[in-house]
Amino acid sequence: MLTKRIIPCLDIKDGRTVKGVNFEQIRDAGDPIELAALYASQGADELVFLDITATVEQRKTLSALVHKIAHHINIPFTVGGGIKTEADVRVLLQNGADKIAINTAAFLDPITINRFAKQFGSQCIVLAIDAKCEADNLWYVYLNGGRTKTDKLVVDWAKEAVDLGVGEILLTSMNHDGTKQGFALDITAQLSENLPVPIIASGGGGTEVHFLEVFTKGKADAALAASVFHYKEIAIPDLKEYLHQSGVAVRI
């Protein structure tokens, strides 16, 4: 049967893997190619690379890095960060990315999604949503790496984007990101149960139990995490064995 996916995320800054807490306090976490190859050999199901610098100059570095990754790993990977135009997408796909993740640019000009989906296929367009639960207990969309609040509700934006053609949603809870206190189960389940596309849950994975919960209670199709893998707090083979023993279908 179709299995739940475990996806290590590599945040890239100046060609290095980094990780922050609650979107800030950036720390160095190693060479991305080395980490990517390690995760692939350990049984990661996919990889996500998010370029958190994403200036024009850095984009060339990024496509070179993507090219190198594509030559070293034998599992699918997604690349995101600052993607705005068809040309941005094309260069990443041509360099070997399987999917691209869009965020701020898609929000500011939603029809972009439709253009990308028509040209490259929905299957390679991932919508990344940075979500924050506010005092009113509602989840809002944030932009620009979590720096800019919008008035748009996550559920509304996700639905709109799926109608426009995104093939998958990467939902990051800013409240949970970097805390290792567990994923945002409610909003993840809400999206997963109401949308026809796979939902990747991100933010807060700190223990094996958190991953189990995001698949069982959160109904996620995939779970993404960074620091717990980078700092070897959870080993992917152990995590998958635990999930398997707990009755979750995973690729072992």
């Binding site: 179709l2 299995t3 199901d45 030559h71 034998n74 599992i75 399987d98 299957q123 997963s192 199709d221």
Partner: protein, 198 residues
Amino acid sequence: MNLTIVQYNAGNIQSVLYALERLGVAATVTDDPALIQASDKVIFPGVGEASTAMAYLKERNLDQIIVALKQPVLGICLGMQLMCKHSAENDTNCLGIFDEQVLAFKATEKTNKVPQMGWNNIKHLRTDLFIGVPENSFAYFVHGYYAGLGTGTIATTNYIQEYSSGLQKNNFYGVQFHPEKSAAVGEQIIQNFLSLKS
């Protein structure tokens, strides 16, 4: 060995080329009929939409070229679907190499996502394409349409229902999953294809 990858307007061709490079095999990506016909083996990849892809192939006469090939041919994903008789995706007549029909997945419960995206088992494995590949191995799939079961079925997978994840007829092979993205299992299948006798 002289290996060609059919170039047309459907994504992921680079990924196949890179996968071959990781295995130390060079290939030529081309839509030149002469080069395709002269090669020892042909890979026909593809991610995209059936009617657009068929229109492109017909425009360049590649539809005629592909069906007449005598060397081993491996269709991947959309490539495999295009080798079938007909696809429900925009009611498209395809190459007709395989008798099987391509139908759309219909979600039967809320948790069924379409397209299927991710790792699923392949079983009932037949032919030399799957030598050394254990039953129930995992392969990576991304697709919203599937080929039904039939005489050409050489692998099956369950998603919403059981369908053909591998097809074969004479020198033509097709897989619905992406061997180029299916880790060691995928590499074994590509190696097996490269080892098939011409």
